[in-house]
Amino acid sequence: MAETIDQIFVLAKDRFLDLLGIVLPDWIILLVRILISIAVLLAVAPVVMMYMTWLERKVLGRIQNRYGPNRVGIFGLLQPIADGIKMLTKEDIVPKNADQVIHFLAPVVIVIAPLLVLAVLPFGRNMIAADLNVGLLFFLGVSTFGVIALFMGSWASRNKYSLLGGMRAFAQMISYEIPMVLSVVPVILVTSSLSTAAIVEAQLGWKWFIFTPWGGFAALVFFLCGVAEVNRTPFDLPEAESEIVAGFHTEYSGMKFALFYMAEFISTFAISGLAVTLFLGGWDGPAFLPSWFWFGLKTFILILIMIWFRGTLPRFRVDQLMGFAWKVFLPFTLANIFIAALWALLPYPKNFIADTIGITVILTLLQIFNRKETPKKRKYLYAN
């Protein structure tokens, strides 16, 4: 029974294809098999995005001692739909001097990347749309499209705030991609595979990489880089509303604006999903609940943490942001590769000790080299 529930989506798909197979030729079945996966992803992604906006507003509201949306539907559950209708019916404003074609293309291109990367996420056992043998690289490579689309939008708006936001997004996303990829390298090194499904397989049975010394820190770095990659607080400089109004999407309204938001939320989901896949054991979990539930739960928790960040933290300044990537994350992830290699090479008790020593050393070194930038505690005088 548990097995059936675990595989319920896979079985449903197979059953449906079997039924089709009675009347239709093979090649159509093959096409339909692909199309179903695509259709499911395309249908699920916007729904996920809509309810993430709801969740974010709700949680932020609660953090700020408010209710959050609670007017449309019970618990405000229909709020995203109302928002969607509002977005659709809003006037679409294009600045007069804007580059019309690119201004139109940017929001279209920007949603493509996060939708594409969903294909390589294993949502559960056997539930992966495309098990590429370069799946991880595919994810990292395709997400770079986002940068280009962002920049298209910011450039085409012909607005200085947009341009500043675009430049920031550009610099930030490139900088953070490097430590992000490097923090993934130990995982590839240990599992010797680039396929996301294989990486999850390697962690089955509570051997999640986050429980290893290198994996814990790599997961932290990966997660923080992921937060930076999707432009969320405290790394939301490209759309810092207090500095550059709305950054790259200042000049967008209506559905185009919604598409920018959709891209941001879907990539938030995708990054959380990838972090879960790489470090938190993917769909692995106690068998009494289906695998897709575990994947969803872990992703949900990571998304909650991102929202929690947003409710608490101020944002970095642009030079601190870059410094963080290049002076802290990059050296650490580079060292982490060696630490992970030690883990893979040595037998059990020894590798743990070696890793602990290695991580302590690198963290101490980072602390020492960055002490100029670390803020100090201050004393204040009183006059009578």
């Binding site: 609660r62 001692n65 960040f309």
Partner: protein, 199 residues
């Protein structure tokens, strides 16, 4: 260690987040406005209204125009009523207040010697048209004295007592002639009321 302060701050927000579920009364401080409303303080002042005793014909205002001239943004406009021979009556024919200009300062209430204009508690007065709808005429401004008793019982008691004393003392004196001569005690018993009247 870098990051400790961040964690501490995050715990604060987490606590506030949990508090809203565990103890909503203390955790959530927003009020669901159209359904629930905060109780207004008695002294709350919004826009002015005119008082009548009994029926709307018995307006207390005598069109002395003190409030009109004291009003800082000059939002009050008064024309006294005239009888057939053109003599000025102690009653306003026109009493307009432009809510768009009024700044709720309450000075009209303070300077009125006849206790006829008071600040209202009504605040849901959104209108679609700024020019016409927010120019409020006499008819719309009139509210019974009992209404005042309802919204501001403390001030009601004080003013009633004062009026009773006044009418007992100087029954035949027409109140409109020299308002500044009235030797009322003013704010000598201040813990009762809000406004030191010059009544």
């Amino acid at each position: 260690m870098f990051g400790w302060g961040v964690l501490k701050g995050m715990l604060v927000t987490l606590w506030n987040f949990l508090l809203t579920y565990l103890w909503p009364k203390k955790g959530i401080f927003t009020v669901q406005y159209p359904e629930k409303k905060l109780p207004l303080a008695q002294r709350y002042r919004n826009f002015p209204f005119l008082v009548y005793d009994g029926t709307p014909h018995m307006i207390r205002c005598v069109a002395c125009k003190i409030c009109e001239s004291e009003c800082p943004p000059k939002c009050i406009y008064i024309i006294p009523e005239k009888d057939a021979e053109g003599r000025v009556q102690k009653k306003p024919a026109v009493f307009d207040i432009d809510y768009a200009i009024c700044m709720n300062c309450g000075l009209c209430e303070e300077v009125c010697p006849f206790d006829s204009i008071f600040m209202d508690h009504e605040y849901e007065i959104s209108k679609y048209n700024r020019a016409e709808d927010l120019m409020v005429r006499k008819e719309a401004l009139l509210k019974p004295w009992e209404y005042f008793a309802k919204i501001r019982p403390h001030d009601f008691e004080r003013i009633e007592a004062k009026r009773a004393a006044k009418s007992a003392k100087a029954k035949p004196v027409a109140p409109a002639e020299k308002p500044s001569q009235k030797p009322d005690a003013g704010p000598t018993s201040p813990q009762q009321g809000s406004v030191p009247k010059n009544g």
